[in-house]
């Protein structure tokens, strides 16, 4: 173990971790610790210069005024830039290396997207400006809508949902509205056991009762079991395709036909659309609604946990029920915005809003930029390279890691492994943490739940072969350490900014805010601010 890595750097690990000298600052070279802003800043400084206010507060405001200023520390610009820059260096990111989180599609985020989203014509426009002054912004929404419809072979698209789970909610509300419009009562949504947690959570949030349907040994939806459960109480199914095991559901069309024949609707979780974009259109498989995570397939940045964006493409049967607002291109090329004022005539069956404004415009701009950059041919290449990369990972590692579905054929855009062949006492978690020491972000672990100790590797198409070979080499090395019973793996990571964190303590005695006190100068009362 501790063989030199590719760059020749050889870490030194003392027998008890004391071999390295202790520094007085707690920092170690470029490994920098950083206090909280509350420990840095005082209430007196600030990094925004403002004119003096021109008037004292209105007398009528008297009883509503704050008694004390908010106890928030202020930083000057140099302090702030340094604080956040130092913090940023404690993060792993796609910009630093592969981020092979299965079902998350962590691909490179093109910087042209960022530049376009910051054009003042997009970034500095208010959602309630008169439509004549925002034709370009509405044009972005309309053009992206067009692409999403064409790429999925669907009839319409609801653009406003704010993220994947919000898109799921939108799709299920459309299904519920369609059922109500027919005067039916169908309280049940069927969800495969392998589904992402948002699927059952969304169905419950939308007021449905959730029932699980089993998987076959080959990791697919059990069509016979599904058919057996369909009936007049079933509103529909939520299927992820490609599924969370990284496999295409070959019987998708049969599933759709059976559900439709029983009067239900098919919701497809589009989280894994990256595997098939430009190659397969979900509309051709009988899907009624599918959300598209723009932050996955269409490269908008994940930002450390959002914002996402989850437009939902809809079949002809569900389109009349989608939320407000939406755009419509006129014959003269201008774009209308259909809101409450026009809805009674233009969209009488639609339900109201799911969010205050037009959805994640900043993500639309980025996604459209990405789509136009790639075009129809490039997007198809995206899917092909993503699937090629995943299969390369699968076949390069199946001799050292158990691959439960490898025998059933190729995978799609992610390769699934399990901890089945690891010796007793070694777990998926150890492999993940060992990979951190190797300088990589781990794959998705313990998901899907249907596979014990699951490790789901999604390399995406933006990794080079050389980059993949390095990732594969490290995964292999870590797996071999586990197979050899290397105990040091159980306390990995050793080289990250932090060792394993005590999650039990965090949950038992939650500390969710800083508990100290900000040093504050004697506060002037607000009416003195104006100096009057």
């Amino acid at each position: 173990m501790n063989a030199p890595n590719a760059s020749g750097w050889k870490p030194e690990l003392g027998p008890s971790g004391t071999a390295s000298p202790v520094t007085s600052s707690g920092d170690r070279g470029l490994q920098l610790e950083e206090p909280l802003i509350f420990e840095l800043g005082t209430g007196a400084n600030f990094g925004v210069d403002l004119d003096a206010p021109e008037a004292a507060p209105l007398a009528s405001l008297g009883r509503f005024l704050r008694k004390d200023k908010a106890a928030l520390p202020g930083l000057t610009e140099p302090e702030a830039v340094r604080h956040y820059t130092r913090l940023s260096r404690q993060n792993y990111a796609i910009d630093l290396g592969p981020f092979p989180l299965g079902s998350c599609t962590m691909k490179h985020n093109p910087r042209l997207n960022e530049k376009m989203a910051r054009l003042p014509g997009f970034a500095d426009v208010h959602p309630l400006q008169p439509v004549q002054s925002v034709q370009g912004a509405l044009g972005v929404i309309n053009q992206l809508a067009f692409w999403l419809i064409e790429l999925t072979g669907m009839h319409g698209v609801a653009m406003t949902p704010k993220a994947g789970a919000h898109g799921e909610l939108c799709g299920l509300l459309c299904i519920k509205a369609a059922i109500l419009a027919k005067g039916e009562d169908r309280p049940v949504i069927l969800v495969p056991e392998s589904a992402h947690g948002t699927n059952p959570a969304t169905a419950a949030f939308a007021g449905f009762r959730v029932e699980n349907i089993p998987a076959t040994p080959a990791g697919r939806v059990d069509l016979a079991a599904l058919k057996a459960r369909l009936g007049p109480d079933v509103a529909g199914v939520m299927i992820t395709n490609p599924n969370t095991c990284g496999l295409f559901e070959p019987e998708m069309k049969d599933i759709s036909d059976a559900v439709h024949a029983a009067g239900g609707y098919v919701y497809c979780d589009g989280a894994n659309f990256n595997a098939i974009v430009g190659k397969v259109r979900p509309g051709d498989l009988g899907v009624d609604a599918m959300h598209i995570n723009l932050h996955k397939t269409f490269s908008t940045p994940h930002g450390g946990g959002g914002p996402g964006s989850g437009p939902v493409v809809l079949s002809e049967a569900l389109s009349p029920f989608g939320p407000l607002p939406f755009t419509a291109r006129q014959a003269d090329g201008t774009i209308r915005l259909i809101e409450e004022e026009d809805a009674p005539v233009e969209h009488p069956q639609g339900f109201g809003r799911m969010t205050a404004f037009h959805g994640q415009m900043g993500m639309f701009t980025r996604a459209l930029t990405y789509i136009l950059s790639h075009g129809a041919d490039g997007l198809r290449q995206v899917a092909e390279d993503a699937v090629l990369n995943a299969n390369y990972v699968l076949r390069s590692l199946e001799d050292v890691l158990d691959a439960p579905f490898a025998a059933s054929g190729p995978c799609m855009h992610e390769a699934l492994f399990s901890d089945d062949n690891l010796p007793d006492g070694f777990s998926t978690l150890d492999v993940a943490k060992g990979l951190i020491d190797e300088g990589f972000h781990p794959m998705t672990v313990y998901f899907p739940l249907v596979v014990h100790g699951a490790m789901l590797v999604e390399p995406t198409e933006t990794e080079s072969k050389q980059g993949l070979d390095r990732l594969i080499g490290s995964l292999r090395a870590v797996a071999e350490r586990a197979l050899a019973g290397d105990e040091s793996l159980k306390s990995a990571p050793h080289y990250a900014p932090r060792r394993r964190l005590d999650e039990t303590q965090a949950a038992r005695k939650p500390v969710l805010t800083w508990q100290g006190h900000v040093q504050q100068p004697a506060p002037p009362i607000p009416s003195e601010i104006g100096g009057s």
């Binding site: 950083e34 802003i37 005082t42 209430g43 403002l50 004119d51 206010p53 021109e54 209105l58 704050r66 908010a70 928030l72 520390p73 202020g74 610009e77 956040y84 820059t85 940023s88 993060n91 003042p120 997009f122 208010h126 309630l128 008169p130 925002v134 034709q135 370009g136 789970a165 947690g197 059952p200 959570a201 949030f205 007021g207 190659k279 994940h302 930002g303 946990g305 959002g306 914002p307 407000l324 014959a331 969010t355 205050a356 404004f357 994640q360 950059s373 129809a376 490039g378 699937v387 090629l388 072969k465 060792r499 394993r500 964190l501 999650e503 949950a507 939650p510 805010t513 607000p526 601010i529």
Partner: protein, 492 residues
């Protein structure tokens, strides 16, 4: 009917499934290496070598699970192919150029989205790749940057709102509002929400959309064009079935409800007071809702750091009393220690969340608004309590000057007797027409109540106007002059 072609361009542009494009696959593959793609690193040689390792003869072998009938033979016809960075930039810039941006015109819109000056360092810092291109911090050892920011953000929001705890953000203010209503239902085991008439109508729409499908009872009311908000009507509507009372502060017309009085009424029946804020900058001047008896405070955080962005992405803020923390939706970051005893942060109390509780989760939310939370937190750090108070005072001062000047325009009267940076003026005619005419004159003059409440004819004379630190004296004069001309023209 347009409703059926929902967000679709005319069908003539829709491609049909059909034969592959005339260009052969091999030639296309060659072209790709020459022209395509600046984002795709695999070379044809790489692909061939990798297929060899896999034991497949072509990439299409890897798609063998897809039924042949569903496999497209080539790039979807009728759609453009890849384009250069320069060409895409030209296309997008042309679209951007068709918008009148707020910075290019006298600008007075608010109604849930506010234009504030964002310090230059905010956008610089959020573009650090380590923040921008990181995922949700599920591996805390290599995500302490994001986690510490979230811990700082939660503390800032809790202190701003005057509550015990805040979460790591929601999608936006409107969705946070619905989540607060659902949470209050869980806490009280009741189903009814009483909404003040001052709640943003789009927020009301979101709530009613959801309630229609989930069975919550929503008792909503429309605003009345009076100087004072409808506190009395709200209090009168509270009964023993009430789970939550939802009040916007300041309200949609810019008025300021008496939260303490409403809180007292909710406490009598064991209902929760949910306070909604669309303008966090107001808390530089106004008392924090948590100090006035609010049980849950939610709102839009867009004003700080995020920008207008035509409505999204925005930032949902969510805080509450500590005793309700396990009923909260969304991600929470908590402090702990690592194996060496060093302070560190993790996502915690995740058993509330969808990935563990599935259909029993407190919410289906997964992604939040992390990067917007970072932008908010940086902006808030640059302000501090002192700067926030100053910023609020400047906003309030500008709005007073705006109100004085608009009141001098013939036919215009100010509705409010109290406001922060946004208030309602009453015009002689339908404000929707006036707003469009102002835009024709290059002035973005506010938000008409007719656009927000098309069905309520009694509100159509109302115009919401906002002034912030970005509003200049010249802007105010431009609006007053243009408004005078438009009204004069309408009267003539």
């Amino acid at each position: 009917m347009l409703g059926l072609t929902y967000a679709r361009t005319p069908s003539t542009t829709r491609c049909a499934r059909g034969p592959p494009p005339p260009m052969g696959e091999d030639l296309l593959a060659l072209l790709r290496t020459e022209l395509l793609m600046r984002y795709l690193p695999l070379t044809p040689a790489d692909r061939a070598e990798m297929l060899g390792v896999i034991g497949a003869t072509s990439v299409d072998d890897l798609f063998s699970d897809v039924p042949a009938a569903a496999r497209l033979a080539g790039p979807i016809a009728g759609l453009p192919n890849h384009a250069s960075e320069m060409a895409v930039e030209r296309h997008m810039a042309a679209l951007a150029g068709k918008n009148l941006s707020a910075g290019a015109a006298p600008f007075f819109l608010g109604a849930g989205a506010y234009r504030h000056h964002i310090p230059a360092s905010v956008d610089h810092l959020i573009q650090r790749g380590e923040f921008l291109t990181a995922y949700t911090p599920y591996q805390p050892e290599i995500a302490q940057g994001t986690l510490q920011v979230l811990f700082e953000f939660q503390t800032q929001v809790a202190r701003l709102y005057g509550v015990d705890v805040a979460n790591a953000s929601m999608y936006d203010g409107s969705t946070a509002c619905w989540e607060a209503i659902v949470m209050a239902g869980r806490v009280t085991r009741r189903k009814k929400a009483v909404l003040s008439g001052g709640l943003h109508p789009h927020y009301v729409s979101c709530v009613e959309t959801m309630a229609r499908f989930t069975g919550e009872t929503i008792d909503a009311r429309k605003p009345v064009l009076e100087a004072a908000p409808d506190d009395d009507a709200v209090i009168a509507a509270i009964d023993g079935e009430t789970a939550s009372v939802v009040v916007q502060y300041p309200d949609i017309l810019g008025r300021i409800p008496d939260l303490a009085a409403i809180s007292a009424a909710t406490q009598v029946v064991g209902a929760l007071l949910v306070v909604v804020m669309t303008e966090p900058v107001a808390l530089g001047l106004l008392e924090a809702p948590g100090h006035l008896g609010a049980d849950i405070v939610v709102g839009e955080g867009q004003s700080l750091g995020v920008g207008l962005q035509f409505g999204g992405p925005y930032l949902g803020l969510f805080g509450c009393r500590e005793k309700y923390v396990r009923q909260m939706p969304g991600r929470l970051c908590g402090q702990t220690v690592d194996a060496d005893g060093r302070r560190g942060f993790v996502l915690t109390l995740s058993t509330r969340e969808q990935h563990i509780r599935r259909e029993k989760a407190t919410s289906n939310i997964c992604t939040n608004s992390g990067l917007c939370a970072l932008a908010f937190s940086i902006h808030m750090s640059l302000l501090g309590g002192e700067g926030l108070a100053q910023l609020a005072a400047v906003n309030h001062g500008r709005a007073q000057t705006l109100a004085k000047r608009l009141a001098q325009v013939p036919g215009v009267s100010v509705l409010n007797d109290a406001w922060f940076n946004e208030f309602t003026v009453i015009l002689p005619g339908d404000a929707r027409e006036v707003v469009r005419s102002l835009a024709d004159k290059g002035v973005l003059g506010g938000v008409s109540l007719g656009r927000l409440y098309p069905e309520a004819g009694d509100l159509h004379g109302g115009l919401l106007v906002t002034a912030t630190e970005t509003t200049t004296d010249e802007d105010i004069e431009a609006l007053a002059t243009a408004l005078g001309e438009v009204l004069k023209g309408a009267a003539a």
